[in-house]
């Protein structure tokens, strides 16, 4: 058993999938409603937004940074879409504009971090306030209805029996995984996270890469916003408040090193799934939501603890 545990250290994805399966089995042993098609479809819809944010967050964390602004950028994108639709712009064009705004906010994060030499925690903490504030200013605090066919389809439609948000998640993770494991850009992300000063000596354009990394995180926030608008059919400016912490937690639970330079993006999806399963499972079992928070907190700490034990073995 002990041997198996240490063998799994070289397969982080297998390890976290195993943990997720154990949690799923435990909950389904306690409640017959958990492992049903209906509940599973529900679970995937619940997990989709955090999962998309976690994909972008993974890139940032592997590069040695952090992005606290994803929830606010999501909200800014959503109200941009809502405001444009409200003012007679077609939903498709409004979506493109909204995604552009979200990506631009991320780009600004990158410029502030790379060129202004502001630590990512501070820069994105600032953007967390700015983006949310702008969202409130645009709307004056009002939520717009967006009952258009496009958003109703994204929120409630199905394709081959699966809810549409799942396809967003699949594309986000497939693209990110390919980028990180097979592209020059991805290799540079790992290099910068592993050692920034060595990366500079390799001739890597570290500043340019950082700007791209945070712009990408903004883009993922904007994509998550499109799914969010679809699910809510409206754009409240206080949407997704505090969701950045869930996205970061998903990355950490999945096992990506907070120190940067290591990790596989697919584990972040499993991390998000584990959090959603715990919430969903405890709801089915009738456990109070207050206790759910306690449990998720414990899971976060335990995940890093186990990771430390594994990496201590590595040295």
């Amino acid at each position: 058993m002990k041997n198996l545990f240490f063998k799994l250290q070289s397969y982080p994805l297998a390890w976290i999938v195993l943990v997720a399966c154990l949690i799923a089995l435990t909950i389904s042993a306690l409640s017959p409603y958990f492992l049903t098609v209906n509940n599973f479809s529900n679970l995937m819809k619940q997990v989709s937004i955090v999962a998309i944010l976690a994909a972008g967050q993974s890139i940032v964390i592997i590069s040695g940074g952090i992005d606290l602004s994803v929830g606010s950028v999501l909200a800014l994108t959503a109200v941009t879409i809502g405001w444009l639709v409200q003012n007679g712009v077609s939903p498709e064009i409004a979506t493109v504009c909204g995604v552009a705004v979200g990506t631009f906010a991320g780009f600004l994060n990158g410029v502030i971090i790379a060129k202004g030499k502001i630590p990512p925690f501070i820069a994105t903490l600032g953007m967390l306030g700015i983006a949310r504030g702008v969202a409130l200013v645009i709307t004056g605090g009002v939520s717009y209805q967006v009952l258009t066919p496009l958003f109703l389809f994204i929120g409630n439609g199905k394709l081959f029996g699966l809810p549409i948000p799942i396809y967003f998640v699949i594309v986000a993770y497939a693209a990110t995984h390919f980028m990180l494991s097979r592209s020059k850009f991805g290799r540079h992300v790992y290099a910068i996270g592993g050692d920034e000063s060595v990366s500079r000596l390799e001739g890597i354009n570290v500043d340019g890469r950082k700007i791209a990394i945070y712009a990408l995180s903004g883009f993922f926030s904007a994509v998550a916003a499109v799914v969010m608008v679809g699910r809510l059919a409206s754009t409240p400016p206080n949407v997704a408040f505090g969701i950045e912490l869930q996205a970061i937690a998903a990355v950490i639970i999945g096992g990506i090193s907070f120190a940067g330079g290591r990790g596989i993006v697919l584990t972040s999806f499993v991390g998000a799934l584990i959090m959603a399963m715990i919430t969903n499972g405890l709801n089915i079992l009738g456990v109070s939501s207050f206790w759910q928070q306690v449990l998720i907190g414990i899971v976060i700490i335990a995940a890093v603890w186990v990771d430390n034990i594994k990496s201590a073995r590595r040295r």
Partner: protein, 514 residues
């Protein structure tokens, strides 16, 4: 040292028995026995990497010992952290000064031992400093902010800081490297005052004249071994230098030096200066030639290399590559032009320790393994990495091995292989064989000679004189950021070179004609 007199207190201030130290499996200090009596100034000398700084830091509590035992004032020094050392009266003054720049001189001196009432500071530091300033004769303003002071002034603060803690033993690690002759004289007077009041100074220095001027006894180290400890009267500059180099050092054979028929200058550096200390450096390297830069640690060798390749901005002078001026240098542009630098300190500057062997090897060369859109061609990358691993005999030879788990020698091979992957025309090597075993070193030397025989221009910096003399066709001496005294290594001994080097280092930069 059997000079015990019944009249003196015979308990040594510091006693080391069989002390050894290793870093990550590489032994840097072995079986050192040393007694330092109270009331003396004791010198520690040796070549770069001989272990003198390490020994100083062990006494000061900054390094724990790997083997053997240590006593301070007759009691076991275990545990021995910097705080333990300070509590027991042993202070250390670092090569890299450790002061808080935003606090004043007086606040820094009394940092951690301030007068206070229930945690509220009394603000008496400036008054308390006055006796120390009087005793040392240092001219510093107690209320000046440390950030505004020169390095020399900061060094004085370190001395006062040790005195304020009534240290009985003060370890000074290269304290005079940035002091003027006048200030050095002042520091020596301070040492003598300390000795007169019963204190002990452990004086680690490259400057043999300084050691001979002020020390009572000297310990000479070579390659981590203690050669001898002797009273100062028994030593001269010549005896010190020959002991530091050692007579019967095992002869390592070097690959043969080949020459290209046609001599063409590949790299020419004219009056190069940079903000971080390169001063008016001029030299050139031909195709197929290995040229050494020889200097002491802190002499500005690495800084010259960084200015040449474009890692640091230059403030004057020109670099010509194959006769063409190369302005606005950057690392990325240098790599494109076939100029690479293998940096020293593979862990901090050379390799990305979180990555695998393959990804480290190809990192600076990704454009040649990627489509224009940036997709990496995995098969091409893998086969190139395979070739490099086989060529350098990296072990284990796994392409996707975790670089963290490799030995120092094999990491160093990977570092070299990385920069030589695409047959560069100009190669700058900074300490290419530091901290590696004999086998790896031989393979590295062969690779360097081979590189030159194929027509590359090689600029080599190494603290190991033997290596430079054995590999290089020509060499220059480097001191205080400048390049001097071109010579051919044939017929030169390490003693000759080291003598001229100590002579250069001793002169203030302005008094020396290039």
């Amino acid at each position: 040292m059997n000079r015990e007199s019944p009249l003196e207190n015979t308990t040594p201030s510091i006693r080391l028995r069989g002390v050894g130290k290793s870093f990550g499996g590489v032994s840097v200090l072995r079986n050192v026995d040393l007694d330092i009596p109270p009331g003396v100034i004791h010198g520690l000398v040796g070549e770069n990497g001989a272990g003198k700084s390490t020994l100083g830091k062990i006494i000061g509590g900054y390094y724990s010992i790997s083997e053997g035992s240590m006593e301070a004032f007759g009691e076991s020094a275990d545990p021995w952290t910097p705080k333990d050392a300070l509590d027991r009266g042993v202070a250390i003054m670092h090569q890299e000064l450790q002061l808080v720049p935003e606090l004043t001189v007086a606040e820094n001196v009394f940092l951690g031992i301030e007068d206070h009432r229930l945690g509220v500071l009394s603000g008496t530091e400036a008054e308390r400093l006055m006796p120390i300033i009087k005793a040392t004769g240092f001219e510093v303003d107690p209320s000046a902010k440390v950030a505004d002071l020169s390095i020399a002034d900061r060094q004085k603060i370190e001395v006062m800081r040790a005195l304020a803690r009534s240290a009985k033993v003060i370890v000074m690690d290269e304290p005079t490297s940035s002091l003027s002759a006048n200030e050095t004289q002042k520091l020596h007077e301070t040492m003598q005052k300390l000795r007169a009041s019963g204190g002990t100074v452990v004086y680690v220095s490259h400057f043999l004249d300084n050691i001979l001027e002020v020390c009572d006894s000297v310990t000479i180290l070579r390659d981590g071994d203690l050669v001898r400890t002797a009273p100062r009267e028994n030593e001269s500059k010549d005896t010190l230098v020959s002991a530091m180099l050692g007579g019967g050092r095992s002869e390592i054979s070097f690959p043969e030096k080949s020459r290209l028929k046609e001599r063409r200058t590949a790299l020419e550096v004219r009056s190069l200066s940079s903000a971080n200390g390169t001063r008016d450096a001029s030299f050139h390297v031909d195709r197929g030639e290995i040229v050494g830069l020889i200097g002491l640690v802190g002499g500005g060798r690495t800084e010259i290399l960084r200015a040449v390749i474009g890692a640091d901005k230059s403030t004057g002078g020109d670099v010509l590559v194959h006769g063409e001026p190369y302005p606005n240098r950057s690392i990325a542009e240098s790599n494109r032009r076939g100029i690479v630098m293998v940096p020293e300190d593979r862990r901090k500057l050379g390799l990305i320790m979180t990555m695998a062997v393959r990804t480290n090897l190809t990192l600076p060369h990704l454009p040649s393994f990627a489509t224009p859109l940036g997709r990496i061609l995995a098969a091409a990358e893998k086969s190139k990495a395979r070739d490099a691993i086989d060529h350098f005999q990296v072990k284990p030879s796994d392409v996707d091995g975790d670089i963290l788990n490799y030995s120092g020698g094999n990491q160093q091979k990977v570092l070299l292989a990385k920069w030589l992957l695409r047959d560069p025309e100009i190669v700058i090597l900074d300490e290419p064989s530091r901290g590696v075993d004999v086998g790896a070193r031989r393979r590295i030397h062969e690779a360097i000679a081979e590189l030159a025989s194929k027509g590359a221009a090689v600029l080599l910096v190494s603290s190991e004189l033997e290596e430079v003399l054995g590999l290089a066709h020509r060499a220059y001496l480097v001191a205080n950021g400048g390049v001097f005294d071109e010579f051919a290594p044939e017929g030169k001994t390490e003693v000759d070179v080291l003598r001229s080097l100590f002579r250069l280092q001793q002169q203030p930069p302005e008094a020396r004609a290039p």
